[in-house]
Amino acid sequence: MTTARTQLGALALVSILAVTACSGGLGGSTSAPSAAASAAESTAPSAEPSAAAAEPVTLIVNTPTNDTIVVRAKALTEAYTAKHPDVTFELTTRPDGQDGETILKTQLASGDIGDLFWYNAGSLLQALNPAQTMLPVTGSPWLSQIQESYLPTVTVGGEVYGAPNEPAMGGGILYNKKIYADLGLQVPKTWAEFVANNEKIKAAKITPVGATFAGDSSWTAQIMVLADYCNVEQAVPGFAEKYTNNQAHYADTPTAAAGFQHLQDGFDKGWWQKDAGATSFDDGLNGLAEGKWAHYPMLTFALGTIAERYPDKIDDIGFFGIPGDDAAKNCATIWMPSAYYIAKNSAHPDVANDFLGFISSVEGTEVLSKALAPSGPYVTKDSKLPDTVMSAVQDIQPYLDSGLSVPALEFLSPVKGALLPDITVSVGSGQVSAAEAAKQADQDVEKQAKQLGLPGW
């Protein structure tokens, strides 16, 4: 029997519910009103450099939670605020690896990523649909301070979108020089020498190669395949173009499939540490510095993090490109630096554009060098590396000087499969054979090519 009081109570509850339902959702996108405003005003960015904004402006910058990237982001934004006190920054993060990519793509599609965000350059950029999600910076005056070889990696459909925020990096094998010295080993110039070195290291009861196959670090497993590209290009010149046109594949090109075979060799010969499936990227770096393993296939951007954590051990780390079969043609694969891009509905496109000019300037590279020891040469013209550059970075220089360096495939071709991390972990943990993995990689690439609408697929 409902009394009047109960009925009144029920009515009160229902009206509270109705009121809260009508009010805006939690954390409603503040970019919604600014999206309308900036969509109306955003055209090609203005040509005035370092235009001091009259009122205080806050730019939202999104990066993965990777240590190296965050440290660089903080350094660059703080330096910019020092120059332009009315511009402050709010740094937001997304998870590293595949998870973060998913979140980024979703936020870009829904338009609430903020003003600026970090992302790779090269073929991966196409997948973000720049024409729909980013503001072009074509025609900005500061573009002339960047080396011409870099610009194609941040250009899609004729429009330039990003500015580099870090040095270029080498991709290959980081090795522990102390272990090499203790065991009297030489830097291998052919794959056979590398195998022989690993046997000796194993005999000395040290793990030859660190492997980081944990769920969120699966991206590290691809390095063995991707960093081998310089050998592929040398054996099959023009592979990148044939690959883009569906004329050459991993499965039918032996040098290309070699990368997968190397992973299988690593598993079969027992080069990895016992818990490879549970070791994360961070543990991988720490283990290399601490001497738990002698080699770690990685990009040299990670050296900055090792230098931060083990400043006294950083010069014990060296670098060599993944060896092929010909000692005379020992080469290294180079990764172009990642970039920052401006979101299409940024509330402050002019200030964001100016920030991009700052980070890619000589001054910007000096800020970066102070924040983290540079892990390669910068792509800014006239930039200089400090004298105290890390020994591993000095190891990259000969490859660049001799011309025996090739940009990675993702900078020469718009096609890159999304499941390569999982496929390489499968081979590395012994679940599939190298031949099977190469076939899977080709099938994976087919999906991406069709999604991009490339001819010939």
């Binding site: 998870d99 998913t102 769920g215 499936g277 549970a278 499941l419 499968s426 943990s429 999604q451």
Partner: protein, 317 residues
């Protein structure tokens, strides 16, 4: 005997027992199979609109998008290409197999453990309430939190589980890093989390069994008789409910797998939902939608016959 008798007519009320006083009958309401509602059909409208808008419309739309190549900004109709591409997916066959294995494992374990625990916790044990709460508590915790916590606990060398086993001199298995064990480890965590709900359903089922049966069991024998001849047959409804619910949940599982292994190492613990999620993450929205349509059909195809089989003995009263 003749109806017409000689003599004065006695009032009917003396011969026949007095008729009980009944309220005058209203117009009799039609009794059909479904009890007729006193409310007009229009009361369904608000819920109906919500249901159509939030469930039916997106389902139909996703059926459409699964036939297109979709970049979220433009669509290109390609017919059944997505479905063919999905079947060519190398991870699909192992993903489908893993999904069935996972569903059967978790469902089976939840039923067995749930029923045994419920039998035990419906005796006159003094601590039964405390134990019931303890066992039910994991069902209340966020799945993501459970996944992340157990991923740390299950680290092969530094995790608490293996370290404790080491103290006892046993070398713990490589829970999440061994490809052949990864799925099994996640299933165990799923059972730990979900057995509380199974327990509650079974307890309700057991409580609804009339006391007479339990009295008879007490007279005829001990715990085993009580279980085998009273609880097991008479909690059939609860058992079927738990099997159905946990099987559906197992087929659709995602959170735990993703937080604990990301479907790894490689594709070892990939299930249908994580395969679909990886494709969504790579930006293949049409392909991922096609995968979801397939999952929808697969779940219905498996669960509907199960339901019919379980309820075949039910009759309309």
């Amino acid at each position: 005997m003749s109806t017409k008798e000689a003599g004065p007519q006695r009032p009917a009320s003396v011969v026949f027992p007095p008729r009980p006083v009944v309220a005058p009958k209203r117009r009799p309401r039609p009794y059909s199979r479904v009890v007729a509602s006193r409310y007009p059909r229009w009361f369904y409208l608000p819920a109906g609109i919500l249901f159509v808008a939030v469930f039916v419309v997106p389902t139909v739309l996703s059926l459409y998008f699964s036939l297109t190549r979709w970049t979220l900004f433009e669509t290109e109709f390609i017919g059944l290409d997505n479905f063919f591409q999905f079947f060519k997916e190398p991870a699909l066959v192992s993903g489908a197999r893993n999904t069935i294995v996972y569903a059967v494992m978790t469902s089976g374990l939840k039923v067995i453990i749930g029923l045994l625990l419920a039998t035990f916790l419906t005796t006159r044990l003094r601590v039964r309430h405390v134990l019931r709460s303890l066992i039910f508590f994991p069902a209340l915790v966020s799945t993501i939190a459970v996944g992340v916590t157990f991923a740390v606990l299950m680290h092969p060398s530094e995790g608490l589980i293996n370290r404790s086993l080491e103290l006892l001199g046993i070398e713990g298995p490589r829970w999440l890093s061994d490809p052949s064990m990864a799925l099994f480890s996640v299933a165990l965590v799923d059972v730990w989390k979900g057995v509380g709900i199974a327990l509650v359903i079974f307890i309700a089922g057991i409580m609804s069994i009339p006391e007479d049966y339990f009295d008879a069991a007490r007279l005829e024998g001990g715990q085993w008789v009580r279980f085998r001849h009273v609880i097991l047959p008479l909690s059939r409804n609860a058992t079927f409910t738990v099997i159905l619910l946990s099987f559906i949940g197992g087929l659709r599982t995602f959170d735990l797998i993703w937080t604990m292994t990301h479907g790894g190492p490689g594709f070892a613990s990939d299930v249908l939902t994580s395969v679909i999620y990886k494709q969504y993450g790579a930006g293949f929205y049409g392909l991922a939608t096609a995968g979801n349509v397939l999952l929808f059909i697969a779940v219905i195809a498996i669960v509907y016959p199960m339901m019919r089989f379980f309820n075949r003995h039910e009759v309309e009263l």
